[in-house]
Amino acid sequence: MLEQLSWKVGGQQGEGVESTGETFAVALNRQGYYVYSFRHFSSRIKGGHSNDKVRVSLKQYRAITDHTDVLLAFDQESIDLNVKEVREGGIVIADEKFNPKAPDHVRLFVVPLTKIAEECGSAIMKNMVSLGASACVLGLPISIFAEVVEERFRRKGQKIVDQNMLAIQRGFEYVKELGGALPEFALKPADGTRRLFMMGNDAIALGAVAAGARVMPAYPITPASDVMESLIRKFPKVGGVVVQTEDEIAAINMAIGAAYGGARAMTATSGPGLSLMMEAIGLAGMTETPVVIVDTQRGGPSTGLPTKQEQSDLFAALFGTHGEIPKIVLNPATTEECFYIMGDAFNLAEKYQCPVIVMTDLQLSLSKQTTDPLDLGRVEIDRGYLASESDLVPTPQTEEFKRYKVTETGISPRVFPGTKGGIHKVTGVEHLESGRPNETSPNRKVQMEKRMRKLRGVELPGSVVRTGDADAEVVIVGLGSNIGAIAEAVERLRADGLKVGHAHVHAILPFPKGQLEAAIDGAKKVVVVENNATGQLRHLMAHFGVQHDGIDSLLKYDGQPFLPSEIYQHVKGMF
């Protein structure tokens, strides 16, 4: 019996690969399994190979595996491209229609998927047939699909629901007759705990509404668009608004306007959009306007690899705007964290009155995964230093409210337009405490120092989470969605008796120098694992003065996320 399973479905983009994977994953998630899925797709709408890999286990993993146990193929290309990773003795289920061929190391089940589907009512149900076939192999009852099928097709009527269930059943039976109910592929039963199943972008959208975000101007871009699309459906219930703007420059400036106006405002984009927002990010920094920008990283540079994994916007996020501003950059690693971090992002933005960039990566943003219950009660809303009644200027106002009052912390009181006694000026030009433009040297120094002081010496708590052996010989440093692959590698390395630690970075600005130093202290070697070509996080460590003699990089920039085995092997070789 299997403790965990790697299942994959492949076919042409647009022929139901995604929905097949999704149905399978949701059904298993509802049984109490931990499910982690990863989509391979390309920047086109229909056609081209696409696949969806689903990992199912009794314990939580947040990485895909290098091998596949069961491969479901809708065309020969899907076999050709993926069969290498099917393990010795693994299963390939393929449609009879294309007369599939597979190498000897796998067991091929040829099933007339399309034909059975047609018999049940329509060829498009071939994915249902394939799900039934999978269930048989894995020793799962087809009833696990009933709920999902019902939900998915309810709108189309009971007949369609029934036809789909029939297709599943027929697929199951066909494989059973082929002798496909293999005990060694039977999945150990799960405990039935119902958890959530979502991708990082879903969690970000949920987190944003929970955090009080109410204005979200944005421009579509892969892999960020879901955040906008999800908020469009949620905001009508809470009085918020999404504006699909003409471009990213409008989006960020509108968000800044809304934040100045008193809303919690955000936008979401990916690399190309982030690059376009650079000027306005500087404006937010200079005008001390709290605004939250989600950057869902994808393969760069330029249009690059729009549907592939990468973590190469770190430098741009930290250093992209001209001139110098205080800024915060957060790096969630899991779906749960995507949810809670949105609250932190808005609280930090309003506490420090500066732009906050929340960086995910494509794998985190788009991989649907089992997610712990999200606790709304844990989301606090703290709007920072707002002017109290007594701070306001008596009306009629003959002088401005001191929006940029020089304080010890550098943080000044905010007041929103519409407030009596709060009139002040805001400008991207250097200014006085009142916000009036002023270019004199002494004032410049005072205001520049005031702004920079806000984050000087600050390290956000929990910026680095250190797990594994306290007395590790090797510490692996990572960020973002690599958390799963690293954790799994660490588990295996420790099982081999090696002393290994894992320092995961959840915020890169303010740079957690102290926390990172503590996390790697005593290690003989440090390896920084990143999905980019230049070792950006590693360079940031040097940049901010984290020193270590035995530091090295493990980089991957081919558009694919790390596999646990790649990290395992690399680190093993370091001992």
Binding site: F197, M198, D202, R214, P236, A250, G261, L374, P417, G428
Partner: protein
């Protein structure tokens, strides 16, 4: 009730003596006072340019953003606080050069905002380059042998983009301008007032006299009907955009904020941001 004085502050504008923008500033102040607005009920959101400094010279809330982006920022402010009187303002370079795309889309979106452009057919603050509204043949620092691009005519563009309120003013006619600004603010939807506001320092062609000579004042055109879009279009084509007064007005439009699904009358900035747990549960259920 607030008077014109209440809309003044003690900042001395850093415009050149004689600059057309003084009249625009004064007109806004007079219009706001005449309408009975209180200073804190108004926000002026401006771009970068000589004209863009205007948000600093009027005693209301003022936001001076980056070059060309006054309209996106102004729309954001309006979304956060729909009760606020939001005036966006800037120059011809700011609004019709770098910022033209935002203008076109702001028109389509139709939020209840008044946009005042101080159109001097030149880049003033950067010392005299030609602007998108500079005429063909116009000589400027960047066109020493004469402009070889065709001028953009803001009124034609605005009508083509489907604007619901279009007016033009002239810095020499403050009374008309005050009245247009009042009407624009009262109008529920996006309103453009393009003001011929001469740059006395760098534009030696489009001077006060030039406009006095070339402008058709629609207020004085017998029978001009500003609710007739076809006539409006004909007029701005025939005058090559050189007309003042209310050019077009369509009162049947519904502003964007009134059409947003589920949008509340209480401005967002005053709303309780905490999420109702019951609503949260319905959101989460989708992923259960």
């Amino acid at each position: 009730m607030a008077t014109v004085k209440d809309f003044r502050n003690d900042v001395r504008p850093n415009w050149c003596p004689g600059c057309g923008d003084f009249a625009v500033q004064a007109s806004i102040q007079r219009a706001l006072a005449a309408m009975g607005k209180e200073p804190h009920e108004v926000a002026v959101i401006s771009g970068i340019g000589c004209s863009g400094r205007i948000s600093g010279y009027i005693n209301t809330y003022g936001f001076h953003g980056v070059h060309g982006r006054a309209l996106p920022a102004a729309q954001g402010v309006k979304l956060a606080n729909r009760n606020l009187t939001v005036i966006a303002a800037g120059g011809d370079g700011d609004g019709f050069g770098i910022g033209l795309n935002h203008f076109m889309h702001a028109v389509r979106r139709n939020m209840d905002i008044t946009y005042i452009v101080m159109d001097n057919q030149i880049y003033g603050l950067t010392k005299g380059q030609h602007s998108p509204t500079s005429a063909k043949g116009f000589t400027a620092k960047t066109t020493p042998e004469g402009n070889i691009e065709n001028a953009l005519v803001p009124s034609q563009i605005a009508l083509a983009a489907g604007i619901g309120f279009l007016a033009q003013g002239f810095s020499s006619d403050v009374n008309q301008l005050v009245s247009l600004i009042q009407q624009a603010i009262e109008y529920r939807g996006f309103a453009l007032i393009n003001v011929f506001s001469p740059c006395v320092t760098y534009n030696k062609i489009n001077t006060y006299d030039f406009f006095r000579e070339h402008i058709t004042n629609l207020d004085q055109v017998e029978g001009y009907d500003p609710t007739d879009r076809a006539q409006a279009m004909k007029t701005v084509i025939e005058t090559n955009g050189l007309c003042t007064g209310l050019i077009y007005r369509d009162d049947s439009r519904v502003p964007y904020e009134d059409q947003i699904p589920g949008f509340q009358q209480t401005p967002i900035y005053q709303a309780d941001l905490r999420l109702d747990p019951a609503v949260f549960d319905t959101f989460v259920k989708e992923f259960a």
